[in-house]
């Protein structure tokens, strides 16, 4: 039953996408219903997966193993551990919410939902892959739909739209434009995103191929590799660095982050949600799955790199957010700053901080998902993301203003939301090893408070510009449901975190025992799963 539910989470969006191909484009409502149905099935199945994951047993659960090519040692091998299960759940929630957030899209709605479902299914696939080949397979598969989603339904920045004089128009259409790092059209953002992520992906692929070749067993099976593969010396370091920086480019860690806020800004609301909510976590997750699991010794030696870089992520992202004038840039840079917290939690290699980092991935997915959804609604109503030209929207959008406050609270880490638990755990757990970073992180929270409140004031309070007299609040359940789901999830796990904590802890503990050389790998029984 468990493995069936897990496969349902993965395949329901795919089946939905395939079914959508055969739905006539004219029947827009049917298109939306099919997409919502497949996302709903995936959400329910992911909830089941998360709730029935048994923390007392631990390890990988709900596994399925089908040979894909015995010649190359590749199997379709899926299952979740205490890290994968919450992230699968988060993907389920954000996909379902994303379908409703995009309910009002008029242009090529069918293609939009097809690409969105493929994107979500591919990210879900990464979170459950126990085979390096399929991890890469789904990882790379999640990048390409982003290009089309950004390019086709995205929006240009104000700077780009104002290039309307003759020289500007010429500039916009020239080839050079793609190399011009200043002006952000949606095409530029989409291309930059794909090239950055593909470059990262091929780095990681090189690492994966080296693991495949130099392990005593020529297999892509992560469970076999973590028991039998042993890497050390120069080769081990090279592989680790390839894997780390390859996957960290999507996370995104500080020097490799520049694609991310641009991509957030250009993307339509649902894509931003999935992008910030789960796509960026693919990086942390893949580092944990590949580097932490297969190369524990090298992880212990080299993980301080992340502790150094995360400071830049937190500070740089925070300051840019504070000065940004575009709503999506604020949240985009804030995401990239918050990813630094996850790296800090991972770098400390401590039970509490790593558990906190994984809970933070989930918590951040909910908080950022909410903020992007609401900013998306505001953009849809006002057709601008420029904070100075907005203001006083609280009068027109009372519900949204209330929800926005909760979203900001969640993002800052107010007690009562799951973010609070995660942040406290990261800070407490890392204090012993990295006190300097913890001080920076704590100041970063203050900074978060500052820029989110600044944006809230700019959007909702002050004087309402007469040109926005026509805007309206979210009216019916279709618009409010996704926000309510994300808010209630965030608050529910903020108040009842124990199951969540136990699930994550059950996986984190044995992993860190290996990394800190306390215990050897626990050989997991796979009877009944492997042929």
């Amino acid at each position: 039953m468990g493995s069936f539910a897990l496969l349902t989470v993965l395949f329901a969006p795919f089946v939905g996408a395939i079914a959508l191909i055969f739905v006539p484009t004219r029947q827009a409502l049917l298109v939306r219903m099919v997409a919502a149905a497949s996302a709903g099935i995936a959400l329910l199945a992911s909830l089941y997966v998360f709730m029935t994951y048994d923390p007392n047993v631990g390890g990988f659960q709900m596994m399925t193993h089908w040979w894909w090519s015995e010649e190359l040692g590749i199997a379709f091998y899926v299952g979740v551990d205490g890290i994968g299960a919450p992230l699968v759940f988060a993907s389920g929630i954000l996909l379902f919410a994303g379908i409703f957030i995009s309910w009002h899209i008029k242009d090529r709605i069918k293609e939009f939902y097809i690409f969105l479902l493929i994107l979500a299914a591919a990210t879900i696939g990464v979170f459950m892959s126990l085979d390096l080949f399929f991890l890469y397979f789904f990882y790379e598969m999640s990048v390409l739909p982003m290009y089309l989603l950004l390019g086709m339904w995205g929006s240009h920045t104000k700077g780009y739209l104002s290039m309307t004089d003759e020289a500007g128009l010429k500039m916009r259409d020239s080839v050079k434009f793609f190399l011009n790092f200043g002006s952000n059209s949606k095409e530029y953002a989409a291309m930059k995103l794909v090239l950055f992520l593909s470059a990262g992906a091929v780095m990681a692929l090189m690492g994966i191929l080296l693991i495949y070749h130099f392990s005593p067993v020529h297999t892509f099976d992560i469970l076999v590799l973590r028991e039998q593969a042993k890497f050390d010396g120069m080769l081990g370091n090279i592989i680790w660095l390839l894997i780390f920086f390859g996957f960290a480019s999507i996370a995104p860690i500080w020097p490799l982050h520049s694609w991310s806020p641009v991509g957030h800004a250009a993307a339509p609301a649902a894509t931003s949600m999935l992008h910030a909510g789960v796509l960026m976590k693919l990086g942390h997750f893949s580092i944990i799955r590949v580097a932490f699991e297969i190369m524990p010794e090298i992880t212990r030696e080299l993980m301080p790199i992340a502790a150094v870089l995360c400071v830049f992520s937190i500070v740089y992202g925070g300051f840019v957010s504070y000065y940004a004038k575009d709503t999506k840039y604020v949240i985009g840079y804030s995401s990239s700053s918050h990813m630094g917290y996850i790296f800090l939690g991972m770098a400390a290699l401590d039970y509490i901080s790593l558990t906190g980092a994984i809970i933070y991935m989930f918590a951040h997915a909910m908080a950022t998902g909410m903020l992007f959804a609401m900013v998306g609604w505001i953009y849809e109503q006002t057709h601008t993301r420029d904070i100075p030209s907005l203001g006083g929207l609280a009068k027109k959008m009372p519900f949204l203003a209330g929800a926005f406050v909760i979203g900001c609270m969640a993002s800052i880490g107010m007690p009562g939301t799951v973010n609070f638990i995660a942040e406290v755990m990261i800070i407490v757990g890392s204090w012993e090893k990295y006190p300097f970073q913890v001080i920076v992180a704590a100041l970063g929270i203050v900074l978060t408070l500052a820029y989110l409140f600044k944006m809230m004031r700019g959007l909702f309070y002050g004087k309402l510009s007469p040109e926005f007299e026509h805007v309206s609040d979210t009216r019916n359940w279709v618009d409010r449901l996704p926000l309510l789901i994300m808010i209630s999830t965030s608050i529910f796990f903020g108040i009842f975190p124990m199951h969540f904590y136990n699930v994550v802890r059950s996986t984190v503990e044995p992993m860190l025992d290996r990394i800190n050389q306390v215990a050897p790998v626990i050989v997991q029984s796979t009877t009944g799963i492997l042929p």
Binding site: W67, G73, F137, M141, G151, A190, V194, L195, V202, T526
Partner: protein, 499 residues
């Protein structure tokens, strides 16, 4: 001394059955064209397709029951590799005939002969796949190229087509000269023309020069840098179905010869020729991908992308192992569907808007969602994006290279994936993101649609469930497992998994 014994028994002729059948069928098509008055040329196309299909079934049946053997003192051999390449060539011919139907209607003269010439080239390439001897290499290579010389220059009112034909002809003849000279040198050094008899010959400069000349002639066929200069102009000028045919079938046939020559005849000199392929591969991938960025014509873009793809194939040659040859075979299969599919879309679009400029693909998604989606799949497969066929093909090649620890080649290959992503996505951008200048919807004829559907099916099937095809490629190249000792250990699965 060589003597030719041409007494053939019935069972010998059986080995040649597909070729003999195709020869007869070709003549039938030609006779029908001449003798039946006012025949609709579409029917001639279906007649040819029927013949190719029958031949294809015949070859697949041979593969299934395991008909192997050789004829004429090993000049002609029918083994796993030959059958594999024959199937690739026949599928390519089938798809080319399907996508030709609309195009041929535009011809003023010689509509019937077009089908005859396509089948004749296919026949020549089928013989190439079976060539096991330098003499038969020369004869079959010229035989197949002969048809192409005519086909490339088929649009006689179009100056570009004539230019393409002339360029192709002059360089082709030059390559033939190189080939003949190389063969004479090799024969002088070894005293034999049969590949399998050359294995034990000691190395010498004459032999090396001879083989480099032969490599150059075959490199011309597959379009590897630095023998690629004819490709862009010829591809652009030739009738598009012929371009599609040129872009896969002769490359496959020439690769069959290359694999046989280097993996069998020259197996003992592997350390020397690996360098040759490493250099050619790096040059082809990098040059092809970088120049493709600047193209504004879709046919030229696909031409340069083809050069880059051949660079990828040569990574497998450089690996020089059985795994390498498996990977090449599988890669060609993925390339066949993606590339021919892309050309089918190009023909579909150009039939309607009469242009091959990438600029005119603006908003294709709004004008024909089907063609745009198909083109998206084919281009992404060529770029190597999962879950499409091209990704598995590339990964297979990289695994083969990794086993031989060819790091330079791997790094260059991986960087090239990112470069190629750029220009494929530029076409995707035009199709999906830009708005059309002329929003009329594009209609596609039934045979063209069939070809596109076959391409889509192949691209998805090979990407999602490649196991049977990988197994097929592995069993087709069993002959190389003795000749080239793999340096890396065969994949040993853990007792846990294997048990």
């Amino acid at each position: 001394m060589m003597t030719f014994d041409l007494t053939l028994t019935g069972s010998d002729l059986l080995l040649l059955a597909p070729e003999i059948f195709l020869t007869i069928w070709m003549c039938v098509v030609l006779i029908v064209d001449f003798s039946v008055k006012n025949i609709d040329h579409e029917n001639l196309a279906y007649l040819s397709i029927g013949g190719i299909l029958t031949t294809l079934v015949n070859v697949i049946w041979f593969d299934y029951i395991g008909v192997h053997g050789s004829l004429f003192k090993d000049m002609y051999v029918l083994d796993g590799v030959a059958i594999f390449f024959k199937i690739i060539i026949l599928i390519a011919t089938l798809l080319v005939l399907l996508i030709s139907i609309d195009y041929v209607k535009k011809f003023k003269y010689f509509k019937g002969e077009y089908y005859f010439l396509v089948m004749m080239s296919a026949l020549g390439m089928m013989f190439m796949a079976s060539a096991q001897d330098l003499l038969s290499v020369f004869v079959t290579l010229e035989f197949s190229t002969f048809g192409f010389y005519v086909l490339v220059a088929y649009l006689r009112e179009d100056a570009r087509s004539s230019e393409a034909g002339l360029k192709f002809f002059i360089l082709g003849v030059f390559a033939a000269g190189l080939l003949a000279y190389g063969i004479s040198l090799v024969y002088g050094e070894t005293g034999t023309l049969v590949f399998s008899e050359m294995t034990s010959t000691p190395g010498s400069y004459g032999l090396a020069i001879g083989f480099i000349l032969i490599f150059a002639a075959l490199g011309f066929k597959i379009g590897a840098v630095p023998f690629h200069s004819w490709i862009p102009d010829t591809y652009q000028g030739a009738p598009t179905p012929v371009t599609a045919f040129l872009s896969i079938a002769p490359k496959g046939a020439a690769l069959a010869i290359l694999i046989r020559m280097f993996f069998v005849a020259l197996a003992s000199f592997k350390p020397m020729w690996v360098l040759l392929f490493v250099v050619a591969s790096i040059a082809s991938m990098t040059y092809g991908n970088i120049v493709a960025i600047a193209q504004t014509n879709i046919k030229r873009l696909l031409a340069y992308s083809g050069i880059a793809q051949i660079g990828n194939v040569m990574i497998g040659m450089a690996a020089g192992t059985k795994r390498g040859s498996d990977a090449i075979l599988f890669y060609l299969l993925t390339y066949l569907f993606a590339n021919l599919g892309a050309f089918a879309v190009v023909i579909g679009v150009s039939n309607f808007i009469k242009s091959d400029e990438i600029e005119d693909y603006n908003g294709l998604n709004r004008r024909s969602p089907f063609l745009a989606a198909a083109m998206l799949l084919f281009l992404l497969s060529l770029a190597g994006v999962p879950p499409l066929a091209g990704f598995i093909g590339k990964l297979y090649i990289f695994v083969a290279a990794m086993e031989q620890e060819l790091y330079t080649l791997l790094i260059v290959g991986l960087i090239n994936i990112v470069i190629s992503m750029y220009y494929y996505l530029i076409v995707v951008k035009k199709m999906y993101i830009n708005e059309p200048t002329d929003p009329t919807s594009i209609t596609v004829s039934a045979p063209l649609k069939t070809a596109v559907y076959i391409g889509i099916a192949g691209t998805l099937l090979l990407g999602i469930y490649p196991k049977p095809f990988i197994d097929w490629a592995v069993s087709a190249t069993l002959m190389f497992s003795n000749l080239v000792a793999p340096t890396a250990a065969a994949p040993v699965l853990s007792p846990l998994v294997g048990g």
